[in-house]
Amino acid sequence: MNLLNQFKDAKLCKQVLAELTAELKAPFRFMEVCGTHTVAIFQSGLRSLFPENLIHVSGPGCPVCVTHEKEVALFFELAKKDVILATFGDLMRVPGPDKKSLKDLQAEGAKIKVVYSPFDALTLARENPLAKVVFIGVGFETTAPTIAATLKIAKKEKVKNFFVLCLHKLVPPALRALVVDPQLKVEGFLLPGHVSAIIGVKPYLFLAKEYSIPAVIGGFEPLDILQALYLLVKMKNEGKAEIINSYKRVVKTEGNVKAQEVLAEVFQPCAALWRGIGEIPESGLQLREKYADFDAFQVFDLQFPEVPPLKGCKCGEVLKGLIRPDECPLFKKVCTPQHPVGPCMVSTEGSCAAYYKYSL
């Protein structure tokens, strides 16, 4: 049996699920803050197996979903300039101003290339020396290090036609913004395994120390998730609030120090806009001064456009875990994966899309 299958073992999962059910003495509301967790919970069928009093809400954990409407409008403006826009595929279907998506702009003739990694975007710049290639840098602590590494290479090679539109976001400041919200009634967090592999355990300690909320770093296989939830419920029953790393095969306590160094060398924290939440201080990354030549904001003199809020869209409330996707009046009626209104329906890792795709 290989590693992939071990953590899906049905017998073991059923055992842990039984233990979790036995431990649940009262309703328990947990939030996962990673889109990959959202999908894993649905895709594995775990959600249909959860006991009734285990209440599952999805948080702001999908990089596409949290991209603010002003940020979306910004890269739409950029797409209309004389540039090649390089992007991860997830962004292609996000509806922007006038309900068009990057796919529509591409069909209208805008030069937009889907890439799997920022290195491919740099290659694109090298292969098209006369064009200006702008990479849309969205994503969390997981994606930012490879973009930082790409920028280091671009700087070393003195590539003059490669730029990054830096819209990166950081998870811990968003968690803080969530827990200070009096409306939020989350009793425990399932913390993102991939992000934690980069940042380690320390940045989450405030959840337990300052807000007495237990949290567990978990992996993405069904057994990982069940184990993490069991630990969360157990902490609640024992009246404890700690940050437990139950994904030790991937996450080190100190995180990935090398990646942290690369991040710190290229980026510095800044305020960032989050869809549905608004501006959160110190929750984004911007390029340091020595990388100014690669900064699309500076090079193309970009400002966030004013954008009216999406009518009736409740993605903000979904992202904060205040309502379930199927409680949004637009869900499945106006807002579908075919015609998404809000970003939570666009991304495959969005909670509305997961609800739509997997719920019977």
Partner: protein, 334 residues
């Protein structure tokens, strides 16, 4: 190395040379060799099945096949899915100016070999050469025609509660092979496309089993999309056991790495067979005796409830919807 010039599509002497030196050389058969405006077909009896498809795959040569063999297999398989014996194919080429003639010859040769293996004749064709950039190297359209062997013919609307769902082998091989070879994905794998003609296997199935309700090849959109189409056409619920779907470990690994779901990846040498449970063993025996069906297995059953939907019972025992794919699968961010 000689390259294709616009002259070759002029209809004049250059065109004649191209047809004679490449196409007729490899495709030669009594129907084609007459080189009339149309092929004269005598030995074909109604009811007939007919299907057409255009092939634009990138890259044009990939592990396990190329655009030429794919253009034969794809259309032959589509015709065969009606429980038919494909007999004749037409082929139309749209070629980009500057295409290397050696490459064209390789593709044409591969098509001829695929047609021979599938026991069909390429009886008529057309060639156009368009200016550089108007197409990407080579596009091929093939149309196939064949004799329907059974009455009633298998159809997407004939799945009935009590039927079993069989798939003839591993899922996702072709789709992942193509994606992993596309520009921009630096991803090495040993996986090969499963591109193959299924018609001879289908002939054995429909001639020996009295009731075959549905035959479909899960090409674009993959297994999940095709099952959804059948559930919709037949207005039945299709219940699939996740753990019983055959998927190679390399495909699972590659999909996990790229954020793709193998159930939505294209297959070019696999079929979905839906038939009454009483014929299950007979069908599996026929399938497994053929190299193209050796990994055949039952993956689910047809029920009345959840009409129009596909329900996936996951490895853990949970149930979830297995929905249709919205657009193309896109690479994810993290």
């Amino acid at each position: 190395m000689s390259k294709l010039l616009l002259d070759y599509g002029s209809g004049g002497k250059a065109s004649q040379r191209l047809i004679k030196d490449i196409f007729v050389k490899y495709f030669s058969n009594p129907y084609l060799d007459k080189l009339d405006d149309a092929a004269f077909l005598q030995e074909i009896k109604p009811p007939l099945a007919m299907s057409t498809d255009s092939y634009t795959v990138d890259p044009i040569i990939f592990p396990g096949g190329d655009i030429g063999s794919l253009a034969v297999h794809g259309t032959v398989n589509d015709v065969a899915m009606l429980g038919a014996k494909p007999k004749f194919l037409s082929c139309a080429f749209i070629l980009e100016e500057g295409l290397e003639l050696d490459l064209l010859e390789t593709i044409v040769k591969s098509m001829a070999e695929a047609a021979k293996k599938a026991e069909v004749f390429l009886v008529t064709g057309d060639t156009k050469v368009v200016p550089k950039g108007a197409v990407d190297k080579i596009f091929i359209n093939t149309t196939g025609i064949g004799e329907v062997l059974v009455e009633p013919a298998p159809a997407g609307s004939r799945a009935r509660p009590g039927d079993v769902v069989i798939v003839s082998g591993t899922i996702g091989d072709h789709g992942l092979t193509i994606l992993s070879k596309r520009q921009g994905i630096s991803f090495e794998t040993e996986i090969k496309s499963d591109s193959a003609p299924l018609n001879l296997l289908i002939e054995k199935l429909v001639k020996n089993i009295p009731e075959v309700h549905v035959l479909r090849d899960p090409t674009r959109g993959g297994l999940a999309t095709t099952l959804n189409e059948i559930a919709g056409q037949s207005q039945v619920g299709i219940f699939i056991e996740e753990d019983s779907i055959p998927i190679r470990e390399e495909v699972k690994g590659g999909c996990s790495f790229l954020g793709l779901d193998p159930l939505y990846l294209a297959n070019e040498g696999k079929l979905i067979l839906i038939l009454p449970q009483k014929y299950q063993e007979q069908a599996l025996e026929i399938l497994k005796a053929d190299t193209l069906g050796q990994d055949a297995t039952v993956i689910g059953e047809v029920k009345e409830e959840y009409a129009g939907k596909v329900v996936l019972k996951t490895g853990l025992g949970g149930n979830r919807l297995l929905d249709m794919l919205e657009g193309e699968q896109l690479p994810r961010i993290c």
